[in-house]
C-alpha cells in the first residue's frame, strides 16, 4: 500500500467519526456535500478514457482556431483594424475554451506560456521581445494601435499554435503522475484564472473582453467535469450537481454583468462560490498508483 493510500485510509476514519456529529454549515450555494465513505482508489488506467476525450476536445478547438488566426492575418494584411479586432476575439475565445490561460496554471508548458503569457515579469514589460502570443496581438490592436506590429506578432502566434501538434499535446497530457496531477487541477484552476486574471482585468491589454473570457473558461471547466464526472460522482456525490448549478449561475450573471458594481459583485460571488465547490476535485481524484 502506498504512503498516500495509507494516509487516505486514516483520513477516512477520521472523517467518518466527524461526519457523525455533522458540523460545518456553509451557505447552501457553496456546499458540495460530503465525500462518500471508502471511495475506491483510482488507478492510472482509469484516467485513460477521460484524458483521451479531453485530447479530442483540444484538437477540435485547435482545428477551429487555426483558420480563425489565418483570417486575422488577412484582416491585418488588408489593414482592416475593426475586422482584425473581431477576428482576434473569435480566435481568443476558441483558445480559452480549450482551458488554457497564461503559463501560471497552464498545462501546455512553455509553449502554452508563449501563446498566452502576460507582459508582467518580463524586463521591458509589453515592449519585451519575449512578450508574444494572444496578449501581444491584443496590445498591438487595442493599446498601441499598431497594425504593422500586429501583423508580425500574429505570424508569430500562428507559428506557436502550429507547434501544438499531437506530439506536443500528448507530451503535456501524459499518463505520468505529474502531468495527471496538473491536468486534474484544471477542474478549478481554469476558473481560478478567470477570477484572478480576467475579472481583475489583470490580463487585459485593451480588449475589455473579460466577460466573454470567463464564459469561455466556464465552457472549459464544464468539459473537464464532464470527462472526469464518472470518477467524481461516486466519490463526492453532491459535487457535480452543485457545480453544474453554480456554473449556470455564472452564465446568467455574465449576461447581467454589464450594469455596474452590484452586477459585477454578483458575478464575482458566483465564480468564487463555484471555486469553493471545485477545490476538492483534485484531492478527491487521488491516483493511488500514480507514483509507482
Amino acid at each position: 500500500m502506498s504512503a498516500r493510500l495509507l494516509s487516505t485510509v486514516a483520513a477516512l476514519a477520521a472523517m467518518a467519526a466527524l461526519t457523525a456529529c455533522g458540523q460545518t454549515t456553509r451557505t447552501t450555494d457553496t456546499s458540495a456535500g460530503p465525500v462518500a465513505p471508502n471511495p475506491a482508489p483510482i488507478q492510472t488506467e482509469q484516467l485513460l478514457g477521460p484524458m483521451g476525450s479531453y485530447e479530442t476536445y483540444v484538437y477540435r478547438h485547435l482545428a477551429t482556431l487555426r483558420p480563425q488566426l489565418a483570417t486575422l492575418q488577412q484582416d491585418l494584411a488588408a489593414n482592416n483594424a475593426s475586422a482584425a479586432k473581431r477576428d482576434w476575439q473569435k480566435a481568443r475565445i476558441s483558445w480559452l475554451q480549450i482551458g488554457q490561460d497564461d503559463q501560471q496554471y497552464g498545462a501546455f508548458g512553455n509553449l502554452g506560456g508563449a501563446i498566452d503569457g502576460l507582459a508582467a515579469g518580463l524586463k521591458g514589460g509589453a515592449h519585451s521581445a519575449a512578450f508574444t502570443g494572444f496578449h501581444r496581438v491584443e496590445y498591438d490592436l487595442y493599446t498601441s494601435h499598431n497594425l504593422h506590429a500586429a501583423q508580425a506578432d500574429t505570424a508569430k502566434l500562428r507559428s506557436l499554435v502550429s507547434q501544438m501538434t499531437p506530439q506536443t499535446v500528448t507530451k503535456d497530457l501524459a499518463l505520468t503522475p505529474k502531468s495527471l496531477d496538473t491536468w486534474v487541477l484544471r477542474c478549478h484552476e481554469i476558473l481560478e484564472d478567470a477570477l484572478r486574471d480576467s475579472l481583475s482585468r489583470n490580463d487585459d491589454y485593451g480588449s475589455h473582453m473579460e466577460l466573454a473570457s470567463v464564459s469561455a473558461d466556464v465552457t472549459a471547466t464544464r468539459e473537464m467535469l464532464s470527462v472526469l464526472g464518472p470518477l467524481i460522482q461516486p466519490r463526492m456525490p453532491g459535487l457535480l450537481s452543485t457545480a453544474a448549478r453554480q456554473l449556470r449561475t455564472i452564465d446568467a450573471r455574465i449576461k447581467a454583468a454589464h450594469g455596474g458594481t452590484a452586477a459585477r459583485e454578483r458575478l464575482n460571488a458566483s465564480v468564487s462560490a463555484a471555486l469553493e465547490t471545485l477545490a476538492p476535485v483534485s484531492e478527491v481524484i487521488q491516483i493511488t498508483n500514480a507514483n509507482t
Partner: protein, 421 residues
C-alpha cells in the same frame, strides 16, 4: 485561556496593577469596572505580541464589540449581499453565525473531508485557533431593506443611507453596504484570520464592498490611547448604566431590533503633515483638551470633567472647541451622547505624497438622528475640519445578540418577514 494565562497576558500587557481591569473585563456585557471614571473604555493594547486575549462570550442579549473594551486591532468590512433569495439570505446569516461562534471560542477546527479537500482552516493562527479576544459585530445597512428580500417593512426606523455632510468628501466605493462586520481582537493576524474564514464560508452570499484596518495604540505613556493628532481619543463616553437610554434600540423601534443599536462608521482622513505645522496651543484650542495629559483645558487630569457653565464666554475652552461643540454637556444635549469606539488607521500614501492616515470614527447610539446626526450637524465648520476629510463609512444597525446555540444573526428579522408579522 486559563486564569493564569490571562493574568500572564495582562501582566505582559502592562495592565495588571492598573486596577481598572477586573476579571471578566472582556465579557460582552462590560461593567463599569472596565471603564474610567468618565466612562471611557480601557484600552487592551498588548505589549507582548505572543500573548493572546481571553475569549469574549459570543452569546448574549447584545452583541460583543460594542461595550467591550477596545482590543488592539480591528477591521471594518462592508459587504453587499449577492444572494438571490430570502432563503439564501437566511443561510448567509446562519453561516456567519456558525463561523463566528467557532472563531470567538477558538479551538481545533474539524476537517470533515480529511485529505480529500483543502483544509477547512487557513492555519494562519496555528492548528489550535486562539480566541484572542475576538469580537465580530454584525450590522445591516439600509440597502438590505430594499426590494430584494421583502424586508422593507421591517427597516429600523432611523436606518438610512449615509448622505454627505457639508465638509465631507465621500467616495461611493468606500461608503455604505448591505452589511457591516466589525472584527476586533488582540492582534491583526487574529482579525485577518477571522475575515478569511468568514468570507470563505459565505462566498456565494456576499462580496466585500470596502474594508479598512484599524489599530488602537498602546497607552502613551498612560491612560487612553492617542490618535494621529497626538490627542488622547476615547476619554469621554457615557457609562454602560446609561445604555438603556442612550444605546440599545428604543421601544418605538420594530420588535425584532431589541438588543441592537445603530452603528456609525466614518473613515476620516487626517492631514497629519498640516497638523504638525500647527502650534500646540492652537491644536489644544481646536480640541479643547491638553495634548499631553488629555485633561480638558479647565482641568488637570484626563478624567476631569469640563465645566462649561463656569466659562460661558469660552475663555478657557473655546466655544468652538471640538469637545465643547460635540458635547456641550447641557441638560438638552444629555440624550445626544454616543458611545465612541474609534481606531486609528494607516493606509499608505496619498497622490500628493502625504501620508494617508486617519481615524476610523466608530460609534454606537440608540437613535441616529437624535444622537450622531445631531452632533455631526453641530460640528459642521468647527475649526478642526480644515485638518480632516471624511471619505467614507456608513450607517448600520448592529443586530441584536445571538442568544444561544439555537439562535442565529437576524433570526428575529427573517422569521418575521417570511410570513407571520
Amino acid at each position: 485561556m486559563s486564569d493564569t494565562d490571562r493574568r500572564n497576558f495582562l501582566r505582559r500587557a502592562g495592565i495588571v496593577g492598573a486596577g481598572a481591569l477586573g476579571a471578566g473585563a472582556l465579557s460582552g456585557q462590560a461593567d463599569s469596572a472596565n471603564l474610567l471614571a468618565d466612562g471611557a473604555p480601557q484600552n487592551q493594547a498588548g505589549a507582548d505580541p505572543a500573548a493572546t486575549l481571553p475569549a469574549v462570550p459570543f452569546h448574549g442579549t447584545h452583541q460583543a464589540g460594542i461595550l467591550t473594551p477596545r482590543q488592539p486591532a480591528g477591521a471594518w468590512v462592508a459587504f453587499d449581499v449577492t444572494a438571490d433569495t430570502r432563503q439564501q439570505l437566511t443561510d448567509l446569516f446562519k453561516a456567519i453565525t456558525n463561523e463566528v461562534r467557532f472563531l470567538t471560542a477558538g479551538g481545533v477546527r474539524p476537517d470533515p473531508h480529511g485529505t480529500f479537500a483543502p483544509p477547512t482552516d487557513s492555519g494562519t493562527l496555528g492548528t489550535d485557533v486562539p480566541a484572542d479576544g475576538l469580537t465580530a459585530t454584525l450590522g445591516v445597512g439600509a440597502s438590505l431593506f430594499d426590494h430584494r428580500f421583502g424586508l422593507a417593512a421591517y427597516r429600523p426606523r432611523r436606518l438610512q443611507a449615509m448622505t454627505p455632510f457639508p465638509n465631507d468628501n465621500l467616495d461611493p466605493a468606500r461608503t455604505g453596504g448591505d452589511l457591516l462586520l466589525q472584527l476586533c481582537a488582540g492582534s491583526q493576524d487574529t482579525v485577518l484570520h477571522a475575515l478569511r474564514q468568514i468570507t470563505r464560508v459565505t462566498r456565494g452570499g456576499m462580496q466585500i464592498r470596502w474594508c479598512e484596518d484599524g489599530f488602537a495604540s498602546p497607552a502613551r505613556p498612560t491612560g487612553v490611547p492617542r490618535n494621529h493628532f497626538a490627542f488622547k481619543d476615547g476619554i469621554a463616553n457615557p457609562l454602560p448604566d446609561a445604555a438603556p437610554q442612550l444605546l440599545w434600540a428604543a421601544a418605538s423601534e420594530p420588535a425584532w431590533t431589541r438588543g441592537g443599536t445603530y452603528h456609525v462608521v466614518r473613515i476620516i482622513q487626517m492631514f497629519t503633515e498640516f497638523w504638525d505645522r500647527v502650534s500646540t496651543q492652537e491644536q489644544q484650542q481646536m480640541i479643547g483638551r491638553n495634548r499631553d495629559s488629555g485633561a480638558p483645558l479647565d482641568g488637570s487630569k484626563e478624567t476631569d470633567t469640563p465645566h462649561y457653565g463656569a466659562d460661558p464666554a469660552g475663555n478657557v475652552i473655546p466655544l468652538t472647541a471640538h469637545i465643547r461643540v460635540a458635547n456641550p454637556r447641557t441638560a438638552k444635549t444629555e440624550k445626544e451622547r454616543i458611545y465612541r469606539r474609534g481606531y486609528n488607521y494607516d493606509r499608505g500614501v496619498d497622490l500628493n505624497g502625504n501620508l494617508d492616515m486617519g481615524l476610523l470614527f466608530n460609534a454606537f447610539c440608540q437613535d441616529l438622528d437624535r444622537q450622531y446626526i445631531a452632533i455631526q450637524n453641530r460640528l459642521v465648520g468647527e475649526p478642526m475640519v480644515d485638518y480632516i476629510s471624511p471619505v467614507g463609512g456608513g450607517y448600520f444597525f448592529a443586530l441584536p445578540g445571538v442568544r444561544d446555540k439555537s439562535d442565529h444573526f437576524a433570526a428575529g428579522l427573517l422569521t418575521l418577514s417570511s410570513g407571520a408579522r
